[in-house]
Symmetry: C2
Subunit: 388 residues, 2 copies
Amino acid sequence: MKRRLSILGSTGSIGTQALEVVDNLSAELQVVILTAKSNVSLLAEQARKYSPEMVALADETRLPELRRLLADPDITVAGGRSGLLEAASRSDVDLCLNGLVGVAGMEPTIAALEAGTDVALSNKESLVMAGDHITGLLQESNVQLFPVDSEHSAIWQCLTGEDLSQVRRLILTGSGGPFRTWTREQMEKVTVREALQHPNWDMGPKITVDSATMMNKGLEVIEARWLFGLGPDRIDIVVHPQSIIHSMVEFVDSSVKAQLGVPDMKVPIQYALTYPDHQPAEWPRLDLAEIGQLTFEPPDPGKFPCIALAFEALERGGSAPAVLNLANDRAVAAFLSEQIGYTTIPRILEQALAAHPYVAHPTLADIASLTEWTDRYFQEELGWEAGR
Amino acid sequence: MKRRLSILGSTGSIGTQALEVVDNLSAELQVVILTAKSNVSLLAEQARKYSPEMVALADETRLPELRRLLADPDITVAGGRSGLLEAASRSDVDLCLNGLVGVAGMEPTIAALEAGTDVALSNKESLVMAGDHITGLLQESNVQLFPVDSEHSAIWQCLTGEDLSQVRRLILTGSGGPFRTWTREQMEKVTVREALQHPNWDMGPKITVDSATMMNKGLEVIEARWLFGLGPDRIDIVVHPQSIIHSMVEFVDSSVKAQLGVPDMKVPIQYALTYPDHQPAEWPRLDLAEIGQLTFEPPDPGKFPCIALAFEALERGGSAPAVLNLANDRAVAAFLSEQIGYTTIPRILEQALAAHPYVAHPTLADIASLTEWTDRYFQEELGWEAGR
């Protein structure tokens, strides 16, 4: 029996790599649902190749184009946000890979889990925004969440067969991004193009900017808190520019386990899709003698203020991590559209964290209100920024 | 219920560190047997501190001295080789830590396993000499072998919860010893004092010399073959001078797991004594940001010919690994007593391997004959060497 997969965000960076994994394991994995935001031609091409039972396109305006390109009566076509949620809610799949980027990925994670489907989660915003709610769902039911991020997959793999109560701390590694060796003055003038050049990983633009600011690492700390149930005082970050050690677990006897590999998202994607098995794959193999050296340094708080903001939000709890993430989404978008400068990102996040109407135990309705609040806040702030 | 331990070689490097582990976990571990070769004063001191049920001293001539120092009617005192084997054969212990150095440790391992006692094995010669025989004992019975070597402990920890059939290869790390950066000409003149200065680990003289020649790593490859059941084509060595990554496992999906830590034998010793648990210990913690860099290089076959000899012996199988090990014991002893030079070690091993009467399936009796053969061979060779 093949494992039946839905892939949310199949035309994105994670989605296309997940389909390479499916190609590698076509005897084990079957794609039954594909969804995309707006890349109609690629989605149609994928649908022709994998013959899913359903495709969904979030951008409803391009739905007629998709129907015309597909012209396959065996494939159900759905559109808009409701189509995406319908795809995520299908209970006749074994595993839903959520490769959506940003807050848009949160509801589909919850929909899949509520439908009783295990989720391979690449969308880190799901846990950052609604970690408490999702943890509750997991505890109430039989469903499981499998991390796809290279860092969390590393920790998950290091915890195989181990007892979480014997863990002293988690150590997340981060490359330090393209600006690790820049001065603060140089960082004042970072361009969008410079921020999109990640040294090791091939990812989408939002995550690449998050990697440059190391907010990515901050959000991963928050995500790790929910995935593994350890507080911020038991999660550390070390900068490791080569991205070979993907993360580590230190046990109470000072023994440390690490997961390593050539930077290639297909490895953690495949592991999440084939868990608990390692399935054969001819991905590039690690050759440490050829690499020669691995280096490590503490993250510089002056250069990467987003890390401290993430720890602060996690310590504060309640609505703080959600607002940090919502504000970061908007700040990165504003930077990518050249509305704000690079160093404005942490400044505006700090302001938003301080200014937002704090809620100690946010419901999904509260998260919706906070989303509206953040939108208004950014309209005002960006107006202010534009008028400077 | 405390775990009842026997410690063979309690006054040696592994034995004394094992007692530090017992001090750390006195609520979990109880020492019931201690044995030493000849260090009467330390054995007596240990016996007074831990109140074992039995002590054994291999050097029978010093037994009266031990009895006088101890003067405790509750402690059974045994002497000589038979006393050591009696201690190893006691079936009323839960775990026997074999910290003996050299071939002398083989029989006690077999005696303990035959008595139904699990063995925490530091003595690598047991498996190198009698891997086939010991593997047979483990398959026939319920007893288990727990590795104590930092490298094998690392691999064992990386395999926790994993399926051995999904392993692509084992990667043993080795520091490269004190002569890694020396030229071959400099190595011609290595003194005993220089060979005993290991950069990272505090070990006994025999193992320290083996570490300098990297025969240690070669013997570990042979040991790994028996511990984990993988052939020599699936075991690699990488030189890693900092000894922070203690060894690695590569799975078939190219994911690599490593176990890391500050070089401290107490960590693998404790893990073997508390398996499957990691128990709290305030051993020094790994700080990769402080260490800064880890380096890796392929082992230089010209500088470390012992590695190729070990792989050759493993490929040949039968009596070859046993003879390699017997000859190495004698060659290192001859070097330590300044009878032969440092670079004569691999040369004499190669000769012994080629000259020995090969046995395809050696019994324990064959191993005894091979031991006599090696003794005669070295008497002749060393006579020849002395007369050069």
